[in-house]
Symmetry: C2
Subunit: 101 residues, 2 copies
């Protein structure tokens, strides 16, 4: 058997269901704010915050704080490296899928 390790290239950051969800939402929406993400993914705010932190610290998303009127709004968006990393990850998954079906 001389197959290659099929998992070595999968990005550990995207192993988490929640972070995968965040990325997939942010890939199709320019900007999404904290609360919308929270309701969309059905997670507690503390939990979401920590996952967002992981994504931010790895440079895959960026935060954009602004005011809507005098109220603060926190919106998240993917960065260029985040887009690349996520697409790369999906490519690996895709090739696994293609192998199988």
């Amino acid at each position: 058997m001389v197959l290659k390790n099929p998992i070595e290239k999968l990005n550990k950051i995207f192993e988490s269901r929640i972070r995968l969800g965040v990325m997939s939402v942010l890939m199709v929406n320019e900007e999404v704010n904290f609360n919308d993400l929270k309701q969309l993914l059905e997670v507690t705010d503390g939990n979401l915050a920590t996952h967002l932190n992981v994504l931010e610290e790895s440079g895959y998303i960026k935060v954009h704080k602004s005011f809507i009127g005098r109220k603060t709004n926190t919106a998240y968006a993917v960065t260029r490296p985040g887009e690349k990393a996520f697409k790369d990850h999906l490519k690996i998954l895709e090739s696994m899928i293609r192998n199988i079906s």
Copy 2:
């Protein structure tokens, strides 16, 4: 925003990189033995054993112990429910990918 939660249907069992790897290997090979899996996925034997246990206990793979000569051989294969569960999981991933690209 009335999008659906994109992650609720993802199978928790397949969140692990290693279990994902095991499944993807077993989907394209009738049977793979312990040692081949271990070398293919580059994991320690203890770690592999526990992940295989999780997959077996959830009914997604089955074990086939036999003798090659007088030496024991432990081979793993996907079960029918395992095949279905994995394909379902991949379908969700696929739809996420399709949404994005």
